[in-house]
């Protein structure tokens, strides 16, 4: 018989049953603080700059002027809109990785209306409503295709929605030469740059970002109420937990999947509309620019609570904008826009990792192991 001399495991992990609210937030704050330290070290290593000064520069770069502040509001609104759109899908445990594509087709629809209906002379409000509807419908269609396939064939939705992103991107590239301006630039260019028809507001500096924020906040509140208090929201929660329970409770699971994904895609489509009509007045590969993926992280970290999403979206956009400001301020110091991605990534990793310490308890058994050796 083999004799086992191995000592007890040094680290023991067990699941936490419950954790106080303040404790979980303390862990998250500690994670963010720690990640900022890592970022500071990294910036110092790359550029030799004083990290504290660097964070000051970031803050100034984001909040320094009204224009910068409003840009932050604008981009936060778009990111938040996508994240809120993802909430019903994720709550249903439907891995919608296709926000990027849903937003893009929404943007394409808005741009198409702007270009083709812009010179008909209809009032701007009417055109905007048509654009918004077109975007919502386009996004909804993009969301519902994988949903139908999931509901009736049980196709893996993560992979299906991912593929839909690239099909959307190819559609955009298909339309780009058709809509390009000026000819040969291979860019759509600013749409209706003279007439400003189909623009959310002529006042880019203040009104547009605030209108966008207003629209998105309404959507956020509505989604919160929808998920928490409505019958359909209850159905989503049941389907997310167990499809068998849902069937038992006389819930039509297929309908719920299709309906919720239509809503999810539609709101992502609306984000495309906001981006085209509000922020950019053009459409390009950068319209979505990976925000569909970042929004997934926002929605996940917020545990599908749309109000928490506001905070996280604001933080991520701040980091992104701050790092870009940093890069332009210190371009002689080896910092580029890419540093924004690195900093964002590091902070996200830390926040993600912190969930472990919220869900699990760790015990160290150092002393006992030694006893056994002795």
């Amino acid at each position: 018989m083999k004799i086992d001399h191995k000592k007890e495991p040094i680290i023991r992990i067990s699941k936490r049953v419950g954790i106080q609210f303040w404790k979980s937030w303390l862990i998250r704050l500690a994670a963010i603080a720690l990640s900022l330290c890592v970022c500071a070290l990294l910036i110092f290593a790359l550029s030799g700059l004083n990290p504290i000064k660097v964070f000051g520069t970031m803050a100034k770069g984001v909040f320094g002027t009204q224009r910068k502040l409003m840009n932050w509001v604008r981009d936060t609104s778009v990111l938040l809109c996508i994240a809120v759109g993802l909430a019903p899908a994720f709550k249903m445990r439907f891995w919608n990785i296709g926000a990027e594509g849903q937003m893009l087709v929404g943007g394409i629809a808005a741009a198409a209306c702007m270009i083709h209906l812009g010179n008909l002379g209809m009032p701007n409000v009417v055109l905007l409503l048509i654009m918004a509807s077109a975007s919502i419908i386009a996004g909804g269609v993009w969301g519902v295709i994988p949903a139908i396939s999931k509901a009736y064939l049980n196709t893996n939705e993560t992979l299906f929605t991912l593929m839909m992103n690239y099909i959307a991107m190819q559609f955009l590239l298909f339309f780009t030469p058709i809509w390009e301006h000026p000819a040969g630039s291979n860019k759509v260019g600013i749409i209706n740059s003279v007439t400003k028809v189909g623009w959310l507001s002529e006042d880019q500096k203040l009104a547009t970002p605030l209108i966008m924020l207003f629209i998105v906040l309404i959507v956020t509140v509505l989604m919160f109420a929808y998920l928490k208090y409505s019958k359909q929201g209850y159905e989503i929660a049941v389907v997310g937990e167990s499809q068998r329970t849902a069937k038992y409770a006389a819930i039509n699971v297929k309908n719920v999947v299709v309906r919720s994904m239509t809503i999810s895609g539609a709101i992502c489509g609306l984000a495309g509309f906001l981006s085209v009509a509000g922020a950019d007045h053009t459409i390009s590969e950068d319209t979505a620019g990976g925000r569909g993926f970042i929004a997934i992280i926002v929605a996940w970290l917020a545990k599908f609570n749309t109000f928490v999403m506001i905070l996280i979206a604001a933080l991520i956009v701040f980091l992104d904008k701050g790092a870009i400001a940093l890069a332009s301020e210190y371009s002689n110091y080896n910092l580029t826009n890419d540093v924004a991605d690195i900093i964002t990534g590091i902070i996200l990793f830390f926040i993600l990792g912190s969930e472990f310490f919220i869900n699990y308890k760790i015990k160290f058994h150092l002393g006992k192991g030694k006893e056994e050796i002795a």
Binding site: D4, K6, E8, A249
Partner: protein, 513 residues
């Protein structure tokens, strides 16, 4: 049985959060004996054995194998000590063959070579009397084939100490006898066998010694031949309990449900129910007996609108005397609800079907009624009151009504589920294995609730596995065998043997086990 100690567990303690699953438990296992580990569900039997097989690690306490202190940190450590466990939920990989499952994790050779495995498996089978096809994929296997494979897998790894966790729960009586035969062969071969069970007659039939756990505490052990069912029950529950279940006589009797020529085919094309016909009356408890998997689940689900019913079947429901009966075939659960059928259904899988584990009591009460009213928003006021009522009347132990039901113990989960279902004043109450895994007190509460519904005039359909309970509780017993009705008997004047025989045989036709 020898006096040579194989394994000794001393002062083992294991907690899961605030729950103490094992509190300073001591257990000794001798070579060449069959030891029954007896206890109610939740008494910590499986947890204790999981620590011996390396699935869990104890918080404190020590384990000795052949007198030597050992640390079992993983199943691999357990194998090296010749300890093997057959879990209640089989640990097999569906897409692999039997032989591939057997050599999983062994790494005897670099490349997969199944020739020797087949030979050795054949030897083991001959020695103890098994039948295993090494090239069959697990997803094609029946439950008893899977269990056999599990035992062969453990033996292939050279286990001398075998732990079987409720092995008979999924077997027919015939298969159980076969298993016991094999177990005796293994014992004669010098192996130590621990069988976890809460079925007293099996304990008395198969084991040499019985060790009893109660609520995580070690109560004691006794040689089987020196004890009786009554004594073991006392040790298990801590005090003598009357084994009598009430069977009140109900004056109301009316036809409630008339099922005719019901056939169901599952998604894989397997026929689960064949031409089933019966009638359920208000004011009686209709028991449904049968080996697990004989179509009980499908029958209840078909009535609830959750199964696809073959052409020609008919389920007629009458809500009151003299009313035009309603056809339920071809209706979805939603339709059935909308038609005003007052049907309550306590499914077998409580947290996977009847309740939502992560939701609190209030939201679980909402599950049946969330659609009520025209508002797009769900009304939570009534469910909240219902939750309070259920907690009070059924003595549910819970910190509050906003606690997720997953955090409650098994008995309390079932009380929440049954409480919700009977709250709708059903005219038809169906329950599947309503007392499975519950302690005796809770079981009696459930029997009482069933009888209350019967006395109200509801038709109660009770699918059970314990024949003693079925014989004492039910007015009539419908016996299913391989998806067909093999008999319908009066609960008052039938015997266990009669029902048991019907479970195994269809009239005029032998069923191979």
């Amino acid at each position: 049985m020898t006096n040579e100690v194989a394994v000794q567990m001393v002062d083992i303690t294991k907690t899961f959060g605030p729950v103490v699953a094992n509190n300073k438990v001591n257990l000794t296992i001798y070579r060449g004996e069959i030891l029954s580990l007896l206890g109610e569900n939740g008494s910590g039997k499986t947890t204790l054995m999981n620590m011996l097989s390396g699935i869990y690690f104890p918080d404190s306490g020590s384990v000795f194998v052949d007198g030597v202190p050992v640390t079992i940190r993983s199943p691999k450590d357990a194998f090296n000590l010749h300890i093997g466990m057959i879990h209640q939920h089989f640990k097999l990989v569906d897409v692999l063959t039997a032989a591939e499952n057997i050599i999983l994790g062994l790494n005897e050779k670099a490349f997969i070579d199944l020739k020797d495995v087949r030979k050795q498996v054949a030897q083991i089978c001959d020695r103890y009397g098994f039948v295993v096809n090494p090239d069959k994929k697990v997803y094609d296997m029946s439950v008893s084939e899977k269990q056999t494979l599990e035992i062969v897998k453990v033996l292939y790894r050279g286990a001398d100490i075998l732990i079987l966790d409720e092995p008979t729960a999924v077997l027919t009586p015939q298969e159980t006898q076969k298993l016991f035969h094999v177990m005796r062969n293994m014992k004669d071969d010098g192996k130590s066998i621990i069988i976890i069970t809460h079925k007293l007659h099996e304990v008395l039939e198969i084991s040499d010694r019985v060790a009893v756990l109660r609520k995580g505490e070690y109560i004691g052990d006794i040689a089987t031949q020196l004890t009786s069912a009554q004594e073991l029950t006392d040790m298990m529950v801590g005090r003598a309990v009357s084994l009598n279940i009430d069977r009140p006589q109900c004056e109301i009797k009316r036809e409630c449900l008339s099922v005719e020529h019901l056939s169901v085919i599952d998604a894989d094309g397997v026929k689960k129910l064949k031409d089933v016909s019966f009638t359920a009356y208000g004011g009686e408890v209709l028991g449904i007996a049968g080996i697990s998997g004989s179509g009980q689940k499908e029958l209840l689900e078909a009535i609830a609108g959750l199964q696809f019913i073959q052409q020609g079947g008919s389920i007629l429901y009458s809500s009151a005397e003299g009313e035009q009966p309603t056809q339920l075939v071809g209706r979805t659960p939603r339709d059935i609800k909308r038609m005003g059928v007052r049907l309550a259904f306590v499914p077998e899988d409580r947290l996977g079907m009847g309740l939502v584990g992560s939701m609190d009591l209030t939201d679980n009460m909402l599950l049946r009624s969330y659609k009520d009213g025209a508002s797009p928003f769900a009304n939570r006021a009534n469910p909240r009151n219902l939750a309070k009522t259920v907690v009070e009347e059924l003595e549910v132990v819970t910190p509050s009504i906003s606690t997720p039901v997953r955090k409650l113990s098994g008995g309390n989960v079932q009380k929440v589920l049954v409480g919700r279902e009977i709250a709708s004043q059903p005219s038809l109450l169906m329950s599947a294995y309503a007392v499975r895994g519950l302690d005796i007190n809770t079981s009696y509460t459930i029997y009482r609730l069933m009888n209350e519904q019967k006395m109200r005039g509801a038709a109660v359909i009770y699918v059970g596995e314990d024949l003693d309970v079925l014989l004492e509780l039910c007015d009539r017993i419908l016996v299913l065998c391989a998806g067909e009705v093999s008999g319908l008997v009066d609960g008052r004047n039938t015997t266990k043997e009669e029902v048991g025989l019907m479970m195994m045989h269809l009239p005029n036709k032998e069923v191979e086990a």
